[in-house]
């Protein structure tokens, strides 16, 4: 279980300008710095908020990431609430 590493990556992206720039420009390299499972790696690469939330990522790590990606707050909530097959 590497939820800690997923959350650490998000904390770094939210709070460190260099990590944020790498997240936006070279996400596939950034994820290599963290010990992630295949599913976690995919969820980060796709910025899959719904899956990240279901994995147990703290919501206050996801909200700022949504803002970084230019998502409005209502659109972010809609992603969390969507029902997936």
């Amino acid at each position: 279980v590497s939820l800690y590493q997923v959350q650490k990556l998000l904390f770094d992206v939210n709070r460190d300008e260099r990590a944020r720039a790498r997240f936006l420009a070279e996400r596939e390299h950034l994820v290599g710095d963290y010990e992630l499972s295949v599913d976690e790696r995919r969820a980060i690469l796709e910025a899959d908020f719904h899956t990240l939330y279901r994995m147990g990522v703290h919501s206050l790590l996801l909200g700022p990431l949504a803002a970084t990606l230019g998502l409005s707050f209502p659109d972010y909530l809609a992603l969390l609430r969507e029902t997936k097959p």
Partner: protein
């Protein structure tokens, strides 16, 4: 007494970040409450403002997550989340000498950590903005978030120690707690608000009965008031600092679009 005010208020980032999202019938009572608090702050004429605010991953992660952390710097910067709260980043004057004295006084009874470099997020900056104040600030960050948040009665002990310390000072001090009340922040349930919980808590807060909440079970608190309900910790610290003094709720308004029951309250220190 040197404690000349004990205030508490919600710090929802939407108040400044998404002001037009709720109907005016919901937003106006919140702004009126803050305007009344601002007037009280001006009457109180403090020299120093101690702001007790929750951690929201602005400073700490699960590698090191203190229960309580006091900011010792000459100055701080905030907000960290300016694109979200739409408040321009600015330098906030600290009160380094008093902060160190406060830290040493509190540490006689309650373990706390200290920082020379705290980042201020919406928890501090939204209230400062709405109160229109540039007073020197001593930030005290409380873990209401993750890891091992201090039990509620320890947040009360923090307030008692804070009060005991500032009572030795000639300076005029106001303590302001921020956060809450019930909310499910940035979660699928966002917008859910438990009016009944909020009202019970506010009644206890302004009637000097905060001890009714000091042993509130963690699971029950979270079920009733959401993960954001843990932020009552800062209000408990204020009630303790006020010596369980009575006071009044200046406004209470559930605002689903701002994701919380927005409350503004003031206690008369005893």
């Amino acid at each position: 007494v040197s404690l000349v005010g004990a205030f508490a208020a919600s710090h929802a980032p939407g108040i400044t970040g998404r002001p037009m999202l709720p109907p005016a019938s919901e937003s106006e009572p919140v702004l009126r409450g803050y305007a009344e608090l601002r007037a009280r702050l001006e009457v109180a004429r403090p020299d120093v403002l101690v702001v007790v605010s929750p951690e929201h991953w602005a400073n700490f992660f699960l590698d090191h997550m203190p229960s309580f952390c006091i900011g010792l710097a000459d100055a701080f910067w905030g907000p960290t989340d300016e694109e979200f709260v739409k408040i321009p980043r600015r330098r906030v004057q600290g009160a380094a000498r008093h902060a160190r004295a406060l830290a040493e006084g509190i540490a006689e009874d309650v373990d706390l950590s200290s920082s020379e470099e705290l980042a201020l997020d919406h928890g501090v900056m939204v209230p400062l903005h709405l109160l229109g104040t540039t007073l020197p600030v001593i930030p005290v960050i409380v873990n209401c978030l993750a890891g091992l948040p201090a039990p509620l009665h320890r947040c009360h002990a923090l307030g008692v120690a804070l009060r005991r310390t500032v009572d030795r000072w000639p300076e005029r001090v106001v303590v302001l707690g921020t956060g809450g009340l019930s909310h499910w922040p940035a979660m699928p349930e966002s917008g859910r608000i438990n009016r009944d919980f909020d009202q019970r808590f506010l009644d206890a807060f302004v009637e000097g009965r905060i001890e009714a909440f000091l042993r509130y079970p963690r699971e029950l608190l979270e079920a009733e008031a959401g993960p954001g309900g843990h932020e009552i910790r800062t209000w408990i610290t204020v009630a303790a600092a006020a010596g369980e003094g009575h006071g009044s709720v200046l406004s209470y308004q559930p605002v689903p679009a701002w994701s919380t029951g927005c409350a503004v309250a003031s206690l008369d220190p005893r």
